[in-house]
Symmetry: C2
Subunit: 149 residues, 2 copies
Amino acid sequence: MTTRPGIEATGPLIEAIAAAGERVTLPRRAVARLVAARDGHFTAAQLIDDAGAAGEPIGRATIFRALDLFATLGLVERLDLPDGNHAFVACEPVHHHHAICTRCGRSTDIADGALSDVLTAIGRQAGFRVTAHRLEVFGLCADCGVAGS
Amino acid sequence: MTTRPGIEATGPLIEAIAAAGERVTLPRRAVARLVAARDGHFTAAQLIDDAGAAGEPIGRATIFRALDLFATLGLVERLDLPDGNHAFVACEPVHHHHAICTRCGRSTDIADGALSDVLTAIGRQAGFRVTAHRLEVFGLCADCGVAGS
DNA sequence: GTAGATGCAAAACCTTTGCATTTTG
DNA sequence: CAAAATGCAAAGGTTTTGCATCTAC
């Protein structure tokens, strides 16, 4: 390999950052890696812990800023847990929602499917022009639903 | 009027509190009044301001506690704005959702309608047993949609 | 080389909590 | 009268901010 960087630890997140014309910095790479390593949703605090555990010397502020950037770019979504805490989930840049398992905490992507249409119809009835919606589904995932007593 | 209280400033909220066997205190009445006076959604901070403006000598803690009680009783719902802030809306104790106008901030109740079914179906596809869902719809209400340029 | 990102630590924020006092039922 | 709610103020945790320094482009 030549001295040209960018070919090394490149992932979808990093590519998206570069594509958006944002600077690809070491800390951002690290955060992207940590996010990618996460399975379900995670709080900022958890990511900060992860960073510490992974030996990444990243400041809390930087993590918040990176998460904020990712959210702006649509690479992660901010969501709110039933207990009132904020969390994030990595996500594909296509519109969809998350089904969060109340047992194991993992989140499964669910397609928007017929939802948009249903919403538009419901909105129309109420004289409402729907421009955006946010859905959070809670329940038991396949594993927990079966395993659960 | 006799000395029998309860007939005075009684509202739906107060009645529900009494019906639930919770104590009907002056501060709770005040908070109920403030909530009823609100049209759309409101944050705890706003209610606290309202209280101050209305000359109600209620402590912040009490407002948070009252709001919490109301939420537990299903008289108000906690919701999360796109900007990550928490808010509340007064609501009927039947399952439904809120359509929040991004222009005037008012919220319109929308029936759950076919949503539950759609969700159950979607969830089934993903092997997910849906036990709860939370939907927040954003857009323009009838007034703003028409008036809007 | 320059605009932008980082780190640190302090500040700001919102929400909860403890305890003596007051109120409700 | 006893149990529960209130108020105050301080604690708690989370997120943001300022500024000097460093890095990516």
